[in-house]
């Protein structure tokens, strides 16, 4: 069954949140939804770029109280 996971990259700088997401993807199943929390603006642009480049499904980016939430689904 697909899971929802939170990857907490708050406080870290590029490429920390991206690498944390990739580490979490390694232990995830196809169909799992992962939400990265980031306070680093560079990562907010870079992570969706990476998701699209490697062929996962990018869902949304939202911001709340200085924290960005980037959501994706593992596609392969």
């Amino acid at each position: 069954m697909a899971e929802n996971k939170i990857v907490d990259g708050r406080g870290s700088f590029c490429p920390g949140p991206l690498m944390e997401l990739i580490a979490a993807l390694k232990s995830s199943q196809v169909g799992d939804v992962l939400e990265v929390l980031s306070t680093d603006k560079g990562s907010v642009n870079d992570i969706p770029e990476w998701i699209n480049k490697v062929g996962h499904e990018y869902i949304t980016t939202t911001e709340s109280e200085g924290v960005w939430h980037i959501t994706m689904k593992k596609a392969k």
Binding site: F13, C14, P15, G16, M19, I22, A23, W50, K53
Partner: protein
């Protein structure tokens, strides 16, 4: 997805250059690139086990990075190998000059390599030098 090879030559022992090299290698290696890293000159001593990894800053950016939660360059190089398609080669000449053996280097490094092999590996890739 691109399968371009990225070859990263690291000669500097300064924090900014090691950090940028680690970022290029790690992000490249997890984004569909094959990353080949060659560590030589002042860069290599940072990869001796137990070495002081506090690389000296060249300027303001390096000093600021040291006070913030920037991922450590050695962690990024290790993640490049663990999570991506990266191979990191210590330069055999630099090892000879430093007097270090393979087993004294971090375990995620490949066997020592000379320039002839590296240049052969690099001939069909981009080359980034730090």
């Amino acid at each position: 997805m691109s399968t371009n090879k990225i070859c990263v030559v690291v000669v500097s022992g300064s924090l900014e250059r090691l950090q940028m090299a680690a970022m290029v290698a790690s992000v490249g290696a997890v984004s569909g690139h094959e990353a080949v890293v060659f560590l030589s000159m002042n860069a290599l001593s940072h990869f001796v086990k137990g070495a002081d990894t506090k690389a000296p800053a060249e300027g303001e950016m390096g000093r600021l990075m040291a006070t913030k939660k920037v991922p450590e360059f050695k962690m990024l190089f290790e993640q490049a190998v663990e999570l991506g398609d990266a191979k990191i080669y210590p330069c055999s000449m630099a090892m000879d000059v430093l007097g270090v053996e393979q087993e004294e280097l971090e375990d995620y490094l490949e066997k020592a390599t000379g320039l002839t092999k590296f240049l052969h590996d690099a001939q069909d890739g981009q080359i980034w030098t730090f």
